[in-house]
């Protein structure tokens, strides 16, 4: 068995058994759900950042839209959780696909600035449109509904909800893995490495960036929908540029060149947030910031980059 297959089996085995072992090391299952949710959106972002080589600093827009999509549908239309997740995913994804053409011809910092600007537009709409989104107070009035499988009804308390999230995380991760092993994924990497080279091989670079952006939007929309269901709440802060920055930090911390980097980054970030903020409630971000600087300066390939290098030496 290849080393990669072995690593994958270990990771999935650990993820499947989280409720059994996480409490033993001082965690709780809802924390793991949060980690998966943020890891999923970061995987989407990393498709852009790490594999296509374009800087999206506004990924929270699609995360937040996914949340509002799921929340609004539960408030107004249905109590079906699956539909809520699907609507949230579509909200994030379709927004990204529609907005992609504005971005796809821009390069580098211009691309980044426009993604931030678009994100801020959504933030202000959500924050000001009180009657529809709940404004600054956020959207409430919905909660996780039980799932019905035939005659069996499952109440989504912490542990069942974790598996609900893990189910969607697995779909998202499998989709990204398949994508990265396909010619489409290789083309994304080719664009990252050199746009001109890709262009004279017949690649319409802009269209591929659009595709990458759209796919990332669907993943972040899905994660955002799950996030709203996790909290039974969604607020404009989930659309704010700071939230976008957090996703970038997670991607960089974990390792942008690695498939599992976003999960590792999310574990570190959410773990820090949970643990350090209980000791330093007002300035836990200082520690994340310091860690971020150290990683960027000394370990540009993130934590997974360090582990990989160690594994190679050993």
């Amino acid at each position: 068995m290849s080393k990669r297959a072995y690593v994958n089996i270990v990771i999935w085995a650990l993820l499947l058994t989280v409720p059994a072992w996480l409490p033993l090391i001082g965690g709780y299952t809802a924390l793991a759900s949060r980690i998966l949710i943020f890891a999923l959106c970061t995987m989407g972002l990393n498709l852009l950042l790490g594999f296509t080589g374009v800087m999206s600093f506004g990924q929270a827009a699609y995360f937040g839209l996914g949340g509002y999509g799921a929340g609004l549908i539960l408030v107004h239309l249905t109590s079906n959780m699956w539909i809520a997740v699907i609507v949230g995913t579509l909200a994030g994804g379709i927004a990204a696909v529609v907005l992609g053409p504005i971005l796809m011809n821009r390069r580098g910092i211009y691309f980044a600035m426009i993604t931030v600007a678009i994100g801020q537009i959504f933030y202000f709409v959500a924050a000001r449109w009180d009657s529809f989104t709940g404004g600054q107070d956020g959207l409430t009035g919905f909660s996780r509904m039980p799932l019905h499988f035939g005659s069996i009804t499952v109440n989504l308390t912490a542990v069942p909800f974790y598996y609900f999230v893990l189910f969607f995380f697995a779909i998202g991760a499998a989709a990204v893995a398949m994508l990265l092993n396909s010619p489409l994924g290789h083309t994304f990497v080719a664009i990252r490495e050199n746009r001109r080279r890709a262009a004279f091989l017949g690649i319409h670079v802009e269209r591929y960036i659009w595709a990458s952006f759209g796919i990332a939007g669907f993943l972040c929309g899905l994660a955002g929908a799950l996030n709203a269901l996790q909290n039974n709440f969604i607020s404009p802060m989930d659309l704010y540029w700071v939230a976008s920055g957090n996703f970038v930090i997670m991607a960089v911390l974990g390792g942008m060149r690695s498939f599992w980097g976003p999960l590792v980054g999310s574990i570190i970030f959410i773990g820090f947030q949970d643990y350090v903020s209980s000791i330093f409630p007002n300035n836990w971000e200082t520690f994340i910031g310091a860690l971020f600087i150290i990683v960027v300066l000394f370990f540009p390939n993130g934590v997974l980059g360090i582990i990989r290098r160690k594994a190679k030496v050993a």
């Binding site: 290789h186 083309t187 990497v189 490495e193 001109r196 004279f200 091989l201 017949g202 690649i203 319409h204």
Partner: protein, 249 residues
């Protein structure tokens, strides 16, 4: 015979620097044409102007009868134009197989299997990273990548650059064999020996202008003329020995 490539009066700039001062060249169907010239003569710029990487400010490029002067590179490529840039420029963080999955392959005779027949080394190293390949293997990969487009016209920029003499011979054997495949070739070379050996016709560039054009054989026979026109290349002892190899092999 009809021209597959026709460039008229190309005036190309990099910012304010005027690089090409009215270059006109033609490649007929099935022909192998070499573009010779000293370092900095504008050879690479000419190729870049032809494939849409640096559009000329004036002049006209016609490929397969279509005006492609201001087309983006990907569109020109899809017409069936393969471009192998200087310095190989493969994708270092993709494996050999993955590198070959990137081109917008057009249906035709060239498939990955056939590529591995032509370049058995690449087949053996199909799962190696691009960056792990030797210079010769990278050149082969760059050519292979262009061939998957099933080009009718292939533009090669200094394929011999930085390669050991033996490898140069292999590369030129492949280049020469393109003619049998019915592919028209425009080859840029600094090394006049190699360039003249394989070509039907030749253009010599100097300071962004065509200073000579004509039959490759005629020019090859006149060594002094070659030296005067194209400068270096003939004097490079080692390469000249390898060039002998091309003719005898």
């Amino acid at each position: 015979m009809s021209a597959v490539l026709k460039a008229e009066n190309l005036q190309t700039f990099y910012g304010k620097s005027h690089i090409l001062h009215g270059v006109s060249i033609e490649v007929e169907e099935g022909e192998l044409v070499t573009l010779l010239g000293r370092n900095g003569a504008g050879k690479t710029t000419t190729l870049r102007s032809l494939v849409g990487l640096t559009a000329p400010r004036q002049g006209k490029v016609e490929i397969f009868g279509q005006d492609t002067t201001h087309w983006p590179a990907y569109k020109i490529s899809r017409l069936g134009v393969g471009y192998v840039p200087e310095g190989r420029k493969i994708f270092p963080n993709l494996t050999v197989l993955e590198n070959l999955s990137v081109p917008m392959a057009r249906p035709g005779r060239w498939t990955i299997d056939r590529i591995f027949e032509l370049f058995p080394n690449l087949g053996e190293r199909r799962n190696s990273w691009g960056r792990q390949l030797s210079g010769g293997e990278q050149e082969m990969l760059a050519i292979a990548r262009a061939l998957l487009l099933n080009p009718k016209l292939l533009l090669l920029d200094e394929p011999s650059q930085g390669l050991a003499p033996l490898l140069v011979r292999d590369v030129f054997r492949v280049v020469a064999s393109m003619r049998e495949e019915g592919i028209s070739v425009l080859l840029v070379e600094q090394n006049a020996r190699f360039g003249l050996d394989v070509a039907d016709r030749v253009y010599v560039l100097n300071d962004g202008e065509v200073v000579h054009s004509g039959s490759a054989r005629e020019l090859a026979a006149d060594e002094q003329r070659v030296r005067a026109l194209a400068g270096a290349g003939t004097e490079e002892g080692e390469s000249a020995v390898a060039a002998q190899g091309v003719t005898t092999a």
